[in-house]
Symmetry: C2
Subunit: 200 residues, 2 copies
């Protein structure tokens, strides 16, 4: 059985959980508390030298880190990843956007809020706020004329971007100003097999 090293509050972990549920693939979940250093122990660093969840352990014992690479691995050959070359690259492009322009800002401010780090990192907050608002603006523009990010169907690009966008308000990003994003969030949440971020 697949084993997912995970942290329940993590949107990156949630991406993988959500897709596994929607694919109907059984898996064992191992919860690691990143705030207690449980991803930086020698035992876990032997699984992922970068010390991060999610990491997927395959049935042959191989460990695959990086949420979006795990999504890609699991979605190959399923309706969650298009077959066509350009559409596949566009899915990947939005996933790269998520990890570079969105997650380090939208997810990080949520994490700092939850973990009580906002005050000690106050100097970094305005830059991350501005970059997060810019990322949400790019998403709003794309979704203004589309139902989903690529090819008018629900793909792992939507899963990747949903994970931290639907909880962006926990990091102080008001979504009222983004009607296209709010409509898309509702479409994603209405997909068969959807689970909330709080479900393991």
């Amino acid at each position: 059985m697949l084993r997912l090293y995970d942290y329940l509050a993590s949107g990156n972990g949630y991406k993988v959980r959500l897709l596994l549920h929607q694919l109907g693939v059984p898996f064992e979940r191992v919860e690691l508390d990143i705030l207690k250093g449980e991803t930086r122990t020698p035992a876990f660093l032997a699984r992922n030298p970068n010390g991060r969840i999610p990491t997927l352990e395959l049935e042959d014992g191989t460990h695959l880190p990086e949420s979006n690479a795990i999504l890609w691995y699991l979605a190959e050959g399923t309706p969650f990843l298009p077959q066509e070359r350009l559409a596949r690259a566009q899915v990947l492009s939005w996933m790269c956007f998520e990890q570079y322009s969105h997650e380090p800002n939208v997810a990080t401010l949520r994490f700092w809020t939850h973990a009580g780090f906002l005050a000690q990192r106050a100097a970094l907050v305005p830059g991350k706020r501005e970059a997060g608002v810019a990322a949400l603006g790019v998403m709003e523009g794309q979704l203004a004329t589309r139902s989903f990010f690529v090819g008018e169907r629900y793909t792992i690009a939507d899963i990747a971007l949903y994970a931290y966008t639907h909880v962006a308000e926990e990091g102080g990003f008001a979504l009222a100003a983004y009607p296209a994003i709010r409509g898309w969030l509702a479409r994603v949440a209405g997909q068969p097999g959807h689970i909330p971020i709080t479900q393991g």
Copy 2:
């Protein structure tokens, strides 16, 4: 003909230039000076709303942003991207590592050094220095027992990680302490069709 919106000093742009040269695919290069705001003009934002290079314009006028998604698009069906499902996911995993754990630290300190931003962003430098050293450590560990990142052959994972690693010393990261990385840099530079970052 393919058209690449690019900035010569950018390692992200270089990734794409290098692969296009190695594939023997002709392309037109459009230089945009990111320090002069040329990627934030209305004309360029219509091509890539996220306002970043590299962006690849396909022959049908479609614009594909994100360096690693462009590499994936170009490498499909070539020896630069494996066919096997797990190896493909591992290539993508290292590319995600590059964009999340490596580039924002190793590349950013190089850019700030070149652009003269180090003093005004001094508060951010130690964190980026520490994270960059950690990323180089993860690379050194992987390369200690391998010739290339995935499957003992040169792939787009190597191209993605080579781009900013081979110029890491320009950002103050000394590579003397990383013998496995230095051996790998030489192997990558020795691949057929290799070009330097200074070549358009």
